[in-house]
């Protein structure tokens, strides 16, 4: 069954013009860079201190968070963060998750201030987008109501 889905995926991928080189090109491991301490932190401030060196946020109207007001399924909450600032990094913090820091993106010099992904939320909570720009942290908040949690099942 697994082999079948793999083959199917490869064919579909080929049609999309995708070179599915699964496992052949091993990416260079940069695991040391993974900020374990920040991801293990239990509070928003601790996580930001560990990740970015400060938890000093200034609210900015220039950061847009696109996320649902009410998420029926906390396991899959689509979120898009965009900003017109020259962003060095964008981090997503979910205040009431067991470990608040959900994900963090380091952006290259040509990369626009835009990331979109899907996250899990344990319960109704604030989503905080933290944008690092010019050595300062800017943030925006949005509350998402969760009717079924995505952590712990």
């Amino acid at each position: 069954m697994k082999r079948r889905t793999f083959l199917k995926g490869t064919v579909a991928g080929g049609m999309l013009g995708v070179a599915a080189s699964a496992g052949l090109l091993a990416p260079r491991m940069v695991l040391a860079a993974w900020p374990e301490k920040a991801f293990k932190a239990k509070t928003v401030d601790d996580a930001l201190n560990a990740l970015l060196g400060t938890s000093d946020l200034s609210e900015s109207g220039d950061i847009k968070i696109k996320a649902p007001d009410i998420a029926e399924n906390g396991a899959v909450v689509p979120i898009t963060v965009s900003t017109d600032m020259k962003a060095d990094s964008i981090s997503v913090v979910i205040a009431k998750n067991p470990s608040p820091l959900a994900c963090s993106f380091d952006l290259g010099s040509n990369t626009l201030g835009f990331v979109s992904t899907r996250v899990k939320m344990g319960k109704t909570s604030d989503l905080i987008a933290v944008v690092k720009s010019g050595g300062k942290l800017h943030s925006a908040k949005k509350t998402v109501k969760v009717t079924i949690g995505g952590c712990g099942g």
Binding site: M29, T80, G108, K120
Partner: protein, 105 residues
Amino acid sequence: MAKKKIRIRAKLKGDVAEVKALMSHPMETGLRKNKKTGKKIPAHFIKEVICEHKGNKVLVANWSVAVSKNPYLSFKFKGAAKGDMVKISWSDNKGSTASAEAKIG
């Protein structure tokens, strides 16, 4: 091997390339319990995703277990031309890795 899959779509709009990627991965939190045995299902998640264009890292994502199962990722960058390749690779907490390349259309 079936799990090591990344699907990428990259499109050029004006001077901005928009990349969308879908990876298949269980993204287990380590908090969930197996209902039959009551034992915790160990955490298994993608830690790092690296997106490259012409050898430059355009985006490095550090993820925790709070990213949803079968993660979706989208981002935009400048300086790409039609026909350029975008490479995305991930590595997870169990040391597995995968990578894929796609042409910007």
